[in-house]
Amino acid sequence: MAFQRNAITIQNESAVSCNRLPAANLATMFKAMRASDLLKPRPEGLYCPPGDFFIDPVRPVGRALITHGHSDHARSGHSSVLATQETLDIMGLRYGEDFAGTTQAAALGETLDINGVAVTFHPAGHVLGSAQICVEHGGMRIVASGDYKRQEDATCLPFEPIPCDVFITEATFGLPVFRHPPDHEEIARVLKSAAQFPERSHLIGAYALGKAQRVMRLLRDAGYDRPIYIHGALANLSEYYQGQGIDLGGLEPATVESGSKADFAGAIVVGPPSAFADRWARRFPDPISCFASGWMRIRQRAKQGGVELPLIISDHADWDELIITIKETGAEEIWVTHGREEALVRWCELEGITARPLHLVGYEDEGD
């Protein structure tokens, strides 16, 4: 709670200050700690020297704090892992129960002490279990966003802006061209197309963790009540989501045993995008390939991938969400990572906010 009050003060300060730069300099002078001493990029990932831990390390380390279960952030083989219970569960499903030496569940909003560094997880709105990680020490507070979005999503808790000195933001869609439309409009396009082409099947490519379940949930919210056929790669995670109280309705395996080709006429099938290039897709009648991804905003991208019905549904913040979030955190300094850093850094400059790209390696979110 003390956290929250303190935070509001910082936000108010920056809100009243018309000329941000001198105020920011002043604020930094009183900090006992420089931001770059609290968190710094290393080849393994973002490292906290006083706390001796890494955030989302890409190689096995001693202590890892993990923002969410996507495989580029959550890897196996660390000695100890701290993450939300859902993220730990998901890692267990993907890597097997022995994915780390020891694990500890972080409750959202509860502050933990790690070697004198205060660490708090806050919801990030990216996928089930996803969290931002707030690290505070010597009067300096840094929030590492992990991946996040601001659009509403019935399959995970919404993002909470956390006031901080330094905000580390992702920038997967950090260009003004990326503007995600409301997700229900995109789902309506699939349903319209399914009505227009009742003799064909619609194959929706969606990342196996998060996106796939969100798409299914959106279909249900739009009133689609027929069974949704799923690729085997989605079965475990979808079952886990259902177990967490996220209702995805009736799911059936898209196997040949479950029916002949004609039985898939008019069906909606969800699977990982890679499967649609595969022989697997041959069991469906004259399929229309759909792909649920923020990348689908760019026509050429859809065309190159042979996508007939692009669905602009993303689990990452679009340009407008990125800049509103930066403003809401009230951070004096922005570190930009994995994505199109230069445009967001440029925008910060124009707004008089200090910003720099954080050249972290190993994160590829082409799956979105």
Binding site: R200, D286, R299
Partner: protein, 533 residues
């Protein structure tokens, strides 16, 4: 506006013809007048809107946003219309309370003067969604480029009204956007529109290919034969001072052939083949003809170097008299007499080929007197001129195709029924000195094989992939490894766009040569020898 924008978005990514037709008919069925008619005009290229230049569009957007951020965006997207549609900032506090209809958008653009055009455009973009902005920019920058021909749009109309597409084509040039009376007829709410317009298109008569056993059932005496010229089938119509040159699908192509159109000073509707050269001296080759194709404007120099003329096949109307019901023999007599009255540098008669029996004609067919002849036509002496492709009166008997053995180099995934199959093949032949031969790509084919063969090739591609680029795979192809494809094609053109310098016409896979070693595939010189000079 949003429904039109959505239609464009879908069409541009829908590869199959049937898919496009479904999208178009659904749109025409569900959208009201006059929006659907304006959409139709936009697709067929019959909508008149003063063009906005790309530089102007760019200037409008950088007035509204940081040029550096615009630069990053444009670099990433690569397409100006798309970039602007995405980054266009809505004015602060501006919430459009009304989505303009396509008719409103078109109306405002058409009413704008040259000087306030950009301002009108900017205001429209302020009010529009991202997809609608893209559609508006496409309308004002000219050319939708969505992979839908005017012909396909007319087919969709025919499907909508359950009528023959020939009926639409015949009416088309007497109608104007937004085609309200056309839709009323197609929906059974009104009579077929009657057009008082002059020089309308008459639906063309087409032929069927000769099948294996056709000829033995036919009596040579019942048929006239003439050469099948491989130019552009055209119809020249002049009526009451209106002159139009139509393609065989009823598109007005007069603008591309002003030299020929200028000499159309008669009262008639003639069917024939557009070719280049001077018919009194020499007929140009297909490569010559290509100089006149797909050009928006034709320079005087090109017109002089490659003059267009018409080789006449048939007379549909002369001096106001409709001849289409007369037998071919009678129409031919009238045509022969009429062509004599025309400019001999621009019009001549397609000669008949005398033959006594099919064997004689077969020999003539295999050795035509000119490279631009692609076979012979057979026309029943007693046949009336009928729209479409009636079975029996007219046959085309084409020269056998050329074939070449080439090596599979790249394969691309197909769409729809073929979406998980590598079904589009780029193939090459050998070039370079002995000992250091290299494959040069010479063409691409995506049909000619059976479903079973498709499965076999697909497996071969997957098992022999060396690199992937999106939906394309490059496959192992060297002197010792590679799949040899026998490719059939109709002819060969010079090409500056292809590294090999040649471009095939109508290539298709005729046989899979699993038995043939890659090193024994053909060399580029074999193809070069086929080029006509």
């Amino acid at each position: 506006m949003n429904r039109f924008a959505e239609l464009l978005d879908r069409l541009v990514l829908t590869p199959s013809r049937n898919g496009k037709l479904t999208l178009l008919t659904d749109y025409f069925r569900s959208v009201e007048d006059p929006d659907r008619g304006l959409a139709l005009a936009a697709i067929t290229g019959d909508l008149n809107i003063a063009a906005v230049k790309p530089a102007m569009l760019r200037a409008l957007v950088v007035e509204r946003m940081d040029p550096v951020l615009f630069g990053y965006s444009y670099d990433y997207v690569g397409d100006l219309a798309e970039t602007v549609s995405l980054v266009w900032p809505q004015p602060q506090g501006h919430i459009p309370n009304h989505v303009p209809t396509l008719a409103e958008v078109v109306g405002r653009l058409q009413a704008a003067s040259r000087s306030d055009g950009p301002r009108v455009l900017a205001r429209l973009l302020d009010d529009a969604s991202i997809s609608a902005r893209f559609a508006i920019i496409k309308l004002v920058t000219g050319g939708l480029r969505i992979g839908v021909s005017a012909r396909l749009a007319k087919q969709a109309l025919a499907d909508l009204g359950n009528v023959d597409v020939a009926e639409i084509e015949e009416l088309w040039h007497g109608l104007a956007p937004p085609y309200t009376e056309l839709f009323a007829w197609l929906e059974g709410r009104a009579e077929k529109p009657r057009s008082a317009a002059l020089a309308l298109f008459r639906p063309v008569m087409l032929s069927n290919a000769v099948d294996d056993n056709d000829l033995e059932k036919l009596d040579p005496a019942d048929y006239a034969a003439e050469w099948k010229w491989d130019g552009i089938r055209v119809q020249a119509v002049c009526e009451g001072g209106v002159r139009r040159l139509y393609s065989r699908t009823g598109d007005d192509v007069s603008g591309a052939f002003p030299d020929l159109a200028a000499t159309m000073n008669f009262e008639a509707a003639l069917d024939g083949e557009l070719l280049v050269g001077d018919p009194r001296e020499a007929t140009g080759t297909f490569s010559d003809l290509q100089q006149r194709l797909n050009r928006k404007s034709v320079s005087p120099k090109i017109q002089q170097q490659y003059p267009a003329f018409m080789r006449c096949y048939d007379a549909l109307q002369i001096d106001g008299e409709d001849l289409r019901a007369l037998p071919f023999a009678e129409r031919r007599k009238r045509l022969e007499a009429f062509v004599k009255t025309l400019d001999p540098s621009r019009f001549d008669l397609s000669p008949l080929v005398a033959f006594a029996d099919w064997e004689t004609l077969e020999r003539l067919r295999q050795a035509p007197p000119h490279p631009i002849i692609e076979g012979v036509m057979l026309k029943r002496w007693d046949s009336p001129y009928l729209a479409g492709r009636p079975k029996g009166p007219w046959f085309k008997w084409k020269r056998d195709p050329h074939t070449i053995d080439a090596v599979l180099m790249y394969a691309q995934r197909g769409h729809g029924k073929r979406s998980s199959f590598y079904s589009d093949y780029t193939f090459g032949v050998w070039s370079g000195p002995e000992g250091s031969e290299e494959l040069v790509p010479v063409g691409k084919a995506y049909f000619g094989f059976t479903d079973e063969e498709l499965r076999e090739i697909d497996k071969y591609v997957r098992d022999n992939t060396i690199e992937r680029f999106g939906p394309v795979r490059s496959v192992r192809a060297d002197r010792r490894n590679g799949l040899v494809l026998e490719v059939a094609f109709e002819g060969l053109n010079r090409s500056t766009r292809h590294k090999s310098g040649v471009a095939m016409r109508f290539p298709r896979i005729s046989r899979l040569r699993w038995d043939k070693p890659a090193a024994e595939a053909d060399r580029i010189e074999t193809l070069q020898a086929l080029l006509d000079d």
